[in-house]
């Protein structure tokens, strides 16, 4: 090997590197924290592989399945809730198996740093009978990706590599290796294996059961499942990031480190349990390992002292297992700093209008979910990707069209392309009279600006025809489709009033690129003109972080934060905010 360089790598970058070294030829994904950087890193290898942003995780998974069927190594990656969207193909590809190796990377978010729930992908994998590998650091993230492809081909199964936020967004050293040359597999028609209608699927279900049994037995000898016998008074079964907390707190204790967490190596676990006096199972979120260990009649301690909620820490283990804590000071009592819309964000302008009109919004997933909190306080509901349009439709069907005369649905352009478009088809088909506002900022904002089908650019940087959201809505047959500049608050107010009043389905597309894209050159900064200020506080209403109130009631604008969007200028009736250009 000529290239044996060791470099610091983000967990997600290491996953991408592992895919590259494993000879992956096709990757598809939809961005979602904490999985996004996998594809963003994979694209640097685009001379050797193809990678794309798909509109959603179901599509991404199907793209990867097709590539596997065609005989190459393929992958898809997504956050945990994306696995729900992809669950339909996932459950069935478990029956079909693979031709080229097939790996799904699922990134869970214990502690919900950037998610709407804390679900545990291992449970989905168990239900779908798909093996799960769980790495503990960046080196393992890379190594396990390569092992996942070998496993996938050897056992004819898709494999899930499960990470968590802490692994995905931590950096540690990784030794680079060269890309493996994996020859494409020849294609042979095999409808009993690839056409899942009942007669065929019945046969495949037997294969799945047998596969899982063999894997459970063989995995007792896998090197990723490692018995570390030290002091045998206490033994831990651990995997992933919690393994590191165990080593940090009790470096002398024995550990059975599991790399494969589904199916579990029963014989190995029995052997380990017989060697230690007291057995603990340490796993974040659901008691998946613990429940199975107990079902085999093995006594262990788990969730009765560890929580199912949030992220673990070394100190939490120290307290739960040893009854000790490091000496700690209480944190200072300081005001919270919740995330907010950026200065110059077009969503702030739209919400300022909706707030003024006292309109409620059925919300969706993205930066604009932040419109739920004060001072904008517009969004009332948020469930999942694409849900805004359909939940508002349900409200109307429950209570009638007058009930939603002070409601709109708000959804971003990327989320609309993800699954919102299906909800809009339903709203049109089932005669909804709701008003849908598509907040089009020309990007997938919250995850850090990824392209999508309506931006005109691909993950690999190719310029392609963009889907025109306006024409798409028109093509469905919707009569009332209006485009408005997101910062033209007077026109926006007029259009919202008109469309909400109509007894017909309306779509308002508010357009202005995300300020972080830098698409519009910043021409000036907003500056207060103190002698014209009447101290009315109107400019403070949108909650721009660049504007603060002085003790005398006038305002200051932080010139390092201001992006010159002029929303405050539009809000001021007295001309007391000018520009520095």
């Amino acid at each position: 090997m000529s290239d044996q360089k060791t470099i610091m790598m983000l967990g997600n970058a290491a996953i991408a590197r592992g895919a590259y070294e494993a000879g992956v030829k096709v990757s598809a994904a939809y961005p979602g924290t904490p999985s996004t950087e996998i594809s963003e890193n994979l694209v640097q290898y685009k001379d050797s592989l193809y990678c794309e942003w798909s509109p959603n995780e179901k599509v991404a998974t199907e793209v990867a399945i097709g590539a596997s069927m065609a005989g190459v190594r393929a992958m898809c990656s997504m956050k945990h809730v994306g696995v729900n969207v992809a669950a339909d193909p996932l459950y069935t590809v478990s029956y079909i198996g693979v031709t080229g190796g097939l790996v799904m990377v699922a990134a869970d978010d214990p502690g919900m740093y950037s998610s709407q729930n804390e679900q545990d992908t291992r449970l989905v994998a168990r239900a779908a009978h798909v093996p799960v590998l769980e790495p503990s650091d960046s080196q393992e993230a890379k190594d396990f990706m390569k092992f996942a492809f070998d496993l996938s081909e050897k056992y004819d199964t898709p494999v899930i590599v499960r990470t968590t936020t802490r692994l995905a967004h931590s950096q540690s050293p990784v030794k680079l290796e060269e890309r493996q040359d994996i020859p494409d597999k020849p294609y042979e028609r095999d409808i009993a294996k690839r056409v899942m209608m009942p007669a065929m699927a019945k046969g495949r279900h037997l294969v799945v059961e047998d596969r899982e049994k063999r894997l459970a037995e063989d995995s007792c000898d896998f090197s990723v499942n490692r018995m570390e016998i030290r002091d045998t008074k206490i033994g831990f079964i651990a995997s992933g990031i919690p393994y590191l907390y165990v080593r940090e707190v009790m470096p002398e204790a024995s550990v059975l480190k599991l790399g494969l967490v589904n199916p579990l190596p029963k014989k190995l676990i029995e052997e380990f349990a017989s060697k230690v006096d007291k057995l603990y199972v340490v796993e974040e979120l659901e008691p998946l390992i613990e429940t199975q260990v107990r079902s085999w009649g093995i006594d262990c301690t788990g969730k009765e002292i560890f929580t199912v909620q949030g992220e673990y820490s070394a100190n939490m283990l120290r307290k739960a297992v040893l009854g000790e804590e490091l000496p700690q000071k209480d944190p200072a009592n300081v005001p919270n700093r919740p995330p907010i819309l950026c200065p110059g964000c077009p969503h702030r302008s739209v919400y300022t209008v909706l707030n003024k009109l006292k309109i409620h919004a059925a919300g969706d997933i993205g930066c604009y979910t932040l419109g739920a909190v004060a001072p904008l306080s517009v969004i009332d509901t948020t469930v999942c990707m694409g849900s805004s349009i359909s939940t508002l439709h349900g409200m109307e069907k429950a209570k009638g069209k007058d009930y939603i005369k002070n409601w709109v649905a708000v959804i971003g352009d990327s989320t609309f392309m993800h699954t919102g478009v299906n909800s809009l088809m339903n709203a049109f088909y089932n005669q909804s009279t709701e008003t849908v506002m598509i907040l089009d900022n020309s990007t997938t904002g919250m995850t850090g600006h990824q392209d999508h089908a309506a931006t005109g650019k691909t993950l690999q940087g190719d310029i392609v025809p963009a889907i025109n959201i306006y024409e798409l809505c028109k093509a469905m047959g919707i009569k009332n489709v209006t485009e408005v500049d997101a910062f033209d608050i007077a026109t926006l107010e007029k259009v919202v009033k008109e469309e909400v009043a109509k007894d017909e389905l309306s779509v308002i597309i508010t357009k202005s690129p995300c300020v972080m894209l830098g698409a519009k050159p910043m021409t000036h900064k907003c500056v207060p003109i103190s002698d014209k200020c009447k101290k009315c506080g109107m400019c403070l209403k949108p909650g721009c972080p660049a504007i603060t109130k002085n003790e005398d009631g006038t305002i200051s604008i932080d010139d390092t934060l201001c992006n010159g969007c002029d929303l405050c200028v539009s809000m001021c009736k007295f001309g007391a905010i000018g520009s520095d250009s």
Partner: protein
């Protein structure tokens, strides 16, 4: 060597990630095992953010526990106060003397604490620097984070050459010179 613990805290968007990457790179080049943990996603939108950097001969967990930080680098006063309890007894706190009001303060629902630096100085070794003013003097407010890094570098045992070489590898080519100037400015404070 015992594992050393560093934290960088600030407001999402202030550039804590770049700073931690330079830090980690320098330690890596010096032959240490390094682990870092970052915050991406929603909190990056103006929320309170924290990055952990640990280095030594063998490092397990990537996060720093409360009461264990040797060095806390805070990009904003209120954030310094929020995380000060992570410092160990003789730990050093480097704070950028800047005030950024969080939304509860902007809306009048909470008060921004007075005398933060004076109060923290009673308990910790505090080095306060107005990095934003220095950055504006250099003509680019964005490099205030590398000025703070320069200040912090004086409390660590790595050569100036080593810092500069990592800065060269980490930032975009057209910003290398301004960032090296910023580092030198901080190092001279």
């Amino acid at each position: 060597m015992d594992t050393r613990n560093i934290m960088i805290v600030g407001v999402g968007g202030q550039g804590t990630l770049l700073t931690s990457r330079v830090l980690g790179g320098v330690m890596q080049d010096a032959g240490y095992t390094v682990k870092m943990s970052e915050v991406h996603g929603m909190a990056q939108r103006g929320g309170s953010v924290v990055t952990f950097v640990r280095y030594g001969d063998e490092v397990f967990e990537p996060i720093v526990e409360e009461g264990c930080a040797d060095l806390l680098i805070a990009f904003e006063r209120l954030e310094a106060m929020r995380y000060a309890h992570f410092l160990k007894k003789d730990g050093v706190l480097i704070v950028n003397d800047q005030r950024m009001d969080p939304m509860p303060v902007v809306m009048g629902a909470a008060a921004y604490p007075e005398n933060i630096i004076e109060d923290l100085s009673k308990e910790y070794k505090v080095i306060s620097v107005d990095a934003m003013a220095e950055a504006k003097k250099l003509g680019n407010p964005k490099v205030f984070n590398v000025i703070i890094l320069g200040v912090a570098a004086k409390h660590m045992d790595f050569s100036v050459e080593s810092w500069n070489s990592v800065i060269e590898k980490t930032v975009k080519e057209k910003f290398i010179d301004i960032n090296k100037q910023a580092f030198a400015t901080g190092y001279a404070i």
